[in-house]
């Protein structure tokens, strides 16, 4: 068992990102799609922290700070939009939200 290198961390990060992307593409429940988006954000933070650790810099770590802040704001606004949508349409299934088509 070799020591965990940057490659390992980037691989895990890429896997997480890919899983999140597949969730966004495959699921039709808006809430689950949103969770998968969060998963993609976390995957990118993992890559940033790993690069920061293995290069001996601080910038990646500080960026993760900002990503956390933006994610918190994004989730608040997104969930408010979903609740407003549910109030208006009584559904949050993506394939039923097609009122912009024609």
């Amino acid at each position: 068992m070799t020591s965990a290198t940057l490659d390992h961390y980037v691989l895990i990060s890429a896997l997480l990102f890919a899983i999140g992307l597949f969730g966004v593409l495959l699921r039709r429940n808006t809430l689950v799609v949103f969770m998968c988006l969060e998963l993609m954000l976390v995957a990118s933070t993992l890559a940033l922290v790993a690069f920061s650790r293995f290069n001996g810099t601080m910038d990646g770590n500080v960026f993760v700070f900002f990503i956390l802040t933006v994610a918190a704001a994004e989730v608040a606004v997104g969930l408010a939009i979903i609740v407003a949508l549910f109030r208006k349409r009584q559904t949050i299934q993506l394939n039923e939200l097609n009122s912009l088509k024609n």
Binding site: M1, T2, A4, T5, L6, D7, H8, V10, L11, I12, A14, L15, L16, A18, G20, F22, G23, L25, L26, R27, R28, N29, L31, F34, M35, C36, E38, L39, V42, T45, V49, R53, F54, N55, G56, M58, N61, V62, V64, F65, L68, T69, V70, A71, A72, E74, V75, A76, V77, L79, A80, I81, I82, V83, A84, F86, R87, K88, Q90, Q93
Partner: protein, 171 residues
């Protein structure tokens, strides 16, 4: 020992992330997301970024997943996830999965990111003083912008969730 922890947390994180995508119930998906975030926090600890691991647990697991669960239970939607895919989407899925496997296997077999020995590289993430130093010197403007972003997000959420006079709510 550290290696074993890395592999355990990595496996745990990826498995629970797959659970987010695979679980039919939104509550289960949120719980899997929580576990996956705990796994990522463990990986942060393995990378010596203790403060970030703590913040990840606090902000994501504490606030965001709780918010998700709150909304999932508030909305109480019916479980009618239709699982059929058209021919075009199916082809796209297969193509995307193939590209993904190719890319990841290339990363594993050939990718060799040029880095120094981690034992020799200083683990800057352990030092909390460095975070504050960076935040108050190099990244001072982004910190201010983040403050405004949070303010605007708060106002936006209030506006979005307020019931306006004359709006045609169904309920």
């Amino acid at each position: 020992m550290a290696n074993f922890l890395f592999y355990a947390f990595a496996f745990f994180t990826v498995a629970t992330a797959a659970g987010v995508v695979a679980s039919k119930n939104a509550v289960n998906a949120a719980m899997c997301l929580l576990l996956s975030l705990v796994g990522v926090a463990g990986l942060f600890v393995a990378l010596n970024a203790y403060l970030l691991a703590f913040l990840l647990l606090l902000v994501y697991a504490g606030a965001i997943v709780a918010l998700f669960l709150f909304i999932v239970m508030l909305l109480d939607m019916k479980e009618t996830e239709s699982r059929g895919f058209g021919k075009l989407s199916l082809a796209a899925i297969i193509l995307a999965a193939g590209l993904l496997v190719t890319g990841l296997s290339t990363l594993v077999t050939r990718g060799h990111l040029d880095t120094g020995n981690p034992a020799l590289t200083p683990a800057l993430g352990t030092d909390i003083k460095l975070y504050s130093y960076q935040l108050f010197t190099t990244y001072l403007l982004p910190v201010q912008v983040m403050g405004f972003l949070l303010l605007i997000a708060m106002l936006g959420v209030i506006v979005l969730s307020k019931r306006w006079e004359g709006s045609d709510d169904v309920t």
